[in-house]
């Protein structure tokens, strides 16, 4: 008989498709994975400990760097937590700016995901098309707040910079352009036989597993559970806008792919409405105290970031620094299901499944 051995393969921490410094120890028998153990913590920077010595305005740049692909939602969650604790009123124009910026960020994040996912699957060109569109969004952000990736844009009580002249018009043009582009991308990729064969039926799980593992965002909705924090526990001014929450059926990678592209479409809908209703003038900063001291107590707020439920648990002792600031990071929680999904899969499917979970290592490790 031929003697076969189980091979222990180390995927990462430096690897082209692990989306960051992430290590996966897989035991394979031929091409089939028998066990997969994720090892994280390579990007742990101690944000939560650092936050205990910083006041709230100083914490905001740190949140940019946690989920660096979706920095605006990181900014927002901290501001929202403090504002809920303080009971602050945010002016209209600031709310609109926040919403527009967060939805643009959602589109940019999903575009990046789409490009890199297809690159992992093997198609080289969509990556460049996705980045071309993302460039438009990053240029918009650049005009607005001076940075392309780590914005430090929101403050407790509002936003820091006002939209320059003509910025809203550019957002409107972008929305129009993106709608046709999205259809183009569906034509190019979504019907491709090879692509469908690669991801259809791969990495499927059901709703109970998803709920038990605490998955959120697209990873939860692909199983059929209609839970989107923008609709179910609305924050900012999302309850004023009309949009759908797409839900999948089978819980496999194809559903997650389609859902993310649908979410881009829904974001474009929200942006269209927001741009129409944008207040002509107004304050961008509410009546926040000069030294921000939330009252003693604790608050937990959660928002829908492109990756899922991003939460912030703030425990304050009435000082300008938080006593304990905990971030509930969606990528960290979503990654837990990976070992379960990978058992019995082939190495080629590993990349497809890992990509569909959509993790950002900065967020996994905080």
């Amino acid at each position: 008989m031929i003697r076969t051995e189980e091979l222990t393969l180390n995927v990462g921490p430096q690897h082209p498709s692990t989306h960051g410094v992430f290590r996966l120890i897989v035991k394979i028998d031929g091409e089939v994975i028998t066990e997969a153990t994720p090892v994280i913590g390579y990007l742990h920077r101690g944000t939560e400990k650092l936050a205990e010595n910083l006041n709230y305005t100083q914490i905001i740049p740190y949140t940019d760097r946690m989920d660096y692909v979706s920095a605006m939602t990181g900014n927002y969650v901290v501001c929202h937590a403090v504002e809920t604790a303080l009971g602050l009123e945010i002016p209209e124009r600031a709310q609109f700016l926040r919403l527009i910026v967060m939805e643009l960020q959602r589109i940019a994040s999903h575009m990046l995901w789409w490009g890199t996912y297809l690159l992992d699957i093997g198609a080289l060109s969509p990556f460049l098309f996705a980045f071309r569109d993302r460039e438009v969004i990053l240029n918009l952000f650049n005009e607005l707040c001076g940075a392309r990736l780590t914005y430090n844009y929101m403050r407790v009580g509002g936003v820091k910079w006002d939209a320059p002249e003509g910025w809203i018009g550019k957002v409107r043009d972008f929305v129009k352009m993106m709608k046709t582009r999205l259809d183009d991308y569906h034509d190019l990729v979504s019907g491709n036989e090879i692509f469908l064969a690669r991801i259809k039926g791969v990495g499927a799980y059901d709703a109970e597993t998803a709920i038990s593992y605490g998955l959120s965002g697209v990873n939860l909705r692909c199983t059929g559970v209609k839970w989107d924090l923008r609709k179910d526990q609305p924050y900012c001014i999302y309850d004023r806008f009309d949009f759908d929450v797409p839900v999948g059926k089978n819980g496999d990678c194809l559903d997650r792919y389609n859902l993310r592209l649908e979410e881009i479409r829904q974001s474009l809908r929200i942006l269209e409405q927001a741009v129409e209703q944008f207040p002509e003038e107004g304050e961008i900063m509410g009546k926040a105290p000069r030294i921000i001291r939330p009252p003693e107590g604790e608050v937990y707020v959660a928002i829908e970031s492109p990756r899922g439920e991003l939460g912030c648990h703030l425990i304050s002792r009435g000082k300008p620094e938080p006593y304990r600031l905990k971030f509930r990071r969606p990528s960290f929680v979503n990654l837990q299901i990976l070992p379960k999904l990978l058992v019995g899969e082939t190495m080629a499917n590993l990349v497809a499944i890992l990509g569909a979970v959509d993790i950002i290592l900065g967020e996994v490790d905080a």
Binding site: Y213, G297, R317
Partner: protein, 265 residues
């Protein structure tokens, strides 16, 4: 240095300060020079805040540790007393610890809280629920504090009971309150969209809490992270080892008395 601390321990509304450590904290902004939240209560302090950490850097011994903890307890008690006194005087207090003089309206979530307490105490007895309150600051979130010895079973009850069905564990936070350690669990009923918060307290010297991985799978890595950063052991966890830090790290960084091996870090 510990002498100084003991002297200042009894001052109401203040925290022990470290004048000796002022040069280390020279760079910190003026905003930090305030005292704990209650404006205009005790004597205004100058000097550095975050005394515990500053003391940690200075490298204290056991006695100072105990002294500090005692000081913190006394400070909290003093703060609460001062808050009550201030509230009685009509000045606004810092938080929802003491009710104002006229009786408050019951919170809209009070019935939900009562139901939760009832369900737990029905099965596990009145000692299972140590405390229960509504967190008004957080949009009237019903909170209960559960006794750690029955926590694993209470968790299973919360998930399976027809009236509660708290299947979705949103968040777990480990906190080092200086007198004790606690873990806060935030659960959600997806159909009713109702959140609940359950806290489990344990003591600081040998913190142990039963693991709820068998109830909610999402607790797995969360508990590992809390173990890693705070040192709370979760009994019954299938694989309790460090997750963020390297396996050979000494200490638990998120604790308030954490002394890094390398003070430059």
């Amino acid at each position: 240095m510990s002498e100084e601390n003991k002297n200042h321990a009894g001052v109401p509304g203040s925290e022990p300060e470290q004048k000796a450590n002022a040069p280390e904290n020279a760079g910190e902004p003026l905003a930090k020079e305030s005292i704990a939240g209650e404006a205009g209560k005790g004597p205004a302090e100058t000097g550095a805040a975050a005394p515990e950490r500053a003391q940690a850097i200075a490298g204290n011994d056991e006695a100072a540790l105990a002294a500090r903890r005692k000081a913190a307890e006394e400070a909290r008690a003093a703060r609460a007393a001062a808050a009550k006194a201030a509230a009685a005087d009509g000045a606004a207090a810092g938080g929802g610890e003491a009710p104002p003089a006229p009786p408050k309206e019951p919170s809209p979530n009070q019935p939900k809280l009562d139901r939760l307490v009832r369900i737990i105490t029905e099965k596990f007895g009145p000692s299972a629920v140590v405390e229960s309150y509504i967190n008004e600051l957080d949009r009237h979130l019903p909170c209960v504090v559960v006794d750690p010895s029955v926590w694993a079973d209470v968790a299973a009850l919360l998930r399976d009971h027809e009236e509660l069905k708290l299947e979705y564990l949103r968040n777990m936070t480990g906190v080092d309150q200086e007198t004790h350690m606690e873990v806060a669990y935030f659960m959600l009923n997806l159909a009713e969209k109702q959140d609940y918060c359950v806290k489990v307290k344990t003591d600081r010297d040998n913190p142990e809490i039963p693991s709820v991985v068998s109830v909610w799978q999402t607790a797995n890595w969360n508990e590992r992270e809390i173990y890693d950063l705070l040192g709370i052991r979760f009994t019954g966890h299938p694989d309790l080892r460090r997750i963020m830090l390297p396996d050979d790290w000494v200490g638990h960084p998120l604790r308030k008395d954490y002394v890094p091996l390398d003070p430059e870090v």
